[in-house]
């Protein structure tokens, strides 16, 4: 009887986990930036301690002939515990030939674009919101964990006065082995960028599964 109870709890937890993942994976919104279609978003990471240790993850939009998203898929991000990674966000439009690098366009339009990268689950103590924080206000926090032991910091700045962060390059700092999700949001904030999440609209909103091992 006890075994059956444990099995029921495990089944329920698994179902909840997958339900949460599947809802996040459908957060992709109109992937158009400055009239450029966005078909793929990559995070490309290099271990600071060992530059030959690289890893990446990819989120892909499948479009029909009219440019509407028909489906999406993504790969998971595998990271080493207790490491620091230099991160580069790369976005592509593979419908063009040659492939158009949308992230280069974002770099040029850096003064009104801002990336947010939100690891979850996260404790309320670690969800620090400020003009230099890449975390998203309103993200649900967990009181007891287990948490995804990943801290994110943006490392690039735009040419506004004073300069504001962009998020095309970032620093990931991992802790102990853990699993969770990383939500990547690109905010388009025309003449409204001030370092915070609120102004503007969302150009990109995707989610990656993360495993730290």
């Amino acid at each position: 009887m006890l075994k059956l109870k444990h099995a029921m709890y495990a089944l329920l937890a698994t179902a909840l986990f997958y339900a949460s993942c599947s809802s996040k994976s459908e957060q992709a919104v109109a992937p158009t930036i400055a009239n450029e279609q966005l078909t793929s978003a990559y995070l490309k990471l290099t271990n600071e301690a060992n530059p030959s240790d690289t890893t990446s993850c990819r989120y892909r939009f499948h479009l029909d002939n009219n440019g509407n998203v028909t489906s999406t898929d993504s790969t998971a991000l595998l990271l080493k515990a207790n490491s620091k990674y230099d991160v580069k966000v790369v976005m592509l439009d593979t419908t063009q030939s040659p492939t158009f690098v949308v992230s280069d366009e974002i770099k040029q339009r850096q003064n009104y674009h801002l990336f947010f990268l939100q690891p979850t689950p996260i404790s309320s103590a670690n969800l620090v919101i400020s003009t230099n924080s890449p975390y998203i206000p309103g993200t649900p926090t967990s009181a007891s964990g287990p948490y995804l032991n990943l801290a994110v910091a943006r490392t690039d700045q735009d040419s506004n006065t004073p300069p504001l962060q962009i998020g095309l390059t970032d620093l990931f700092t991992t802790g102990a082995a853990s699993t969770g999700n990383l939500r990547v949001v690109l905010r388009h904030q025309p003449n409204a960028k001030n370092g915070t999440y609120a102004p503007g609209s969302t150009d990109l909103d995707v989610n990656f599964k993360v495993t730290i091992q």
Binding site: N111, N160, Q189, P190, N191, A192, K193, S201
Partner: protein, 243 residues
């Protein structure tokens, strides 16, 4: 080249010596004419994204009226001054459309609504030395001058960027600033009598720029005018009164 310079210099000296006379009589005059913007002031071009033309003035052909005078202190040499009022028009609908398209692309938004009011209106006060060549009743006045340009108004431009049904407004204000100006003129004067003459003049005026204020510009993106250069050619006709 050296030969050409020598010939021009010799001709100029001959002209001065031929036209040199007893001290000329000072005069005052009134004039009116057309004022044509030049250079950046005339340009009606937003520019390209990342290379916006932040000095294009979208100014139009207009008119000028003013008073002019010269005080002869030694033979053909005078200290001359001009006070003139200019109107260089306002933005046309094609200008507004050009700006709207530029801001839409510059900020990567769905659309931009641009509205413009007020005109380029300013006053020039310029003083400088003048040399006059005399040929019987015909006078040729050559002048260089410097002074100020006082703006009464410049086009006020209200922009509303719209993206995802959200509005992001900002404004380029009309300016009443004052700035340094300089220029020169060449004029023909014909004396009908001892008192009255007719003056035809070509004037060039240039100012590095009057200060333009903007409201609600939060990011360094899109066309942003903070200083508007002003340059114009004026062709005027007037009456002069010998003092």
């Amino acid at each position: 080249m050296k030969k050409t310079l020598i010939i021009i210099s010799t001709a100029f000296i001959c002209l001065i010596s031929l036209s040199a006379s007893a001290q000329l009589k000072s005069y005052l005059g009134v004039f009116g004419g057309i004022s044509t913007p030049t250079g950046e002031f005339k340009k009606a071009d937003y520019g390209e994204i990342y290379h916006e033309n932040n000095k294009a003035g979208y100014a139009k052909n207009g008119f000028t009226i003013g008073v002019d005078g010269a005080y002869y202190f030694y033979k053909n040499w005078a200290i001359a001054g001009t006070i003139s009022y200019q109107d260089q028009g306002q933005l046309k609908s094609s200008d507004v459309q050009n700006l709207s398209a530029g801001y839409t692309e510059g900020f990567g938004v769905d659309q931009s609504a641009v509205t413009s009011s007020k005109r380029y209106k300013n006053l020039n006060v310029l003083v400088g030395p003048q040399y006059t060549f005399v040929f019987n009743k015909l006078y040729i006045d050559l002048r260089v001058n410097a002074g100020i340009i006082k703006s009464f108004s410049t086009p006020e431009i209200d922009v509303v960027l719209t993206d995802d049904d959200k509005d992001y407004p900002f404004t380029q204000h009309s300016s009443t600033a004052t700035a340094f100006a300089y220029g020169g003129s060449a004029g023909l004067r014909y004396s009908f009598s001892k008192c009255i003459g007719l003056a035809l003049k070509e004037i060039y005026i240039n100012s590095p720029g009057i200060k333009i204020d903007n409201d609600n510009r939060n990011n360094s993106a899109g066309r942003l005018v903070t200083k508007q250069p002003i340059s114009e050619f004026q062709t005027t006709l007037g009456l002069t009164f010998t003092l």
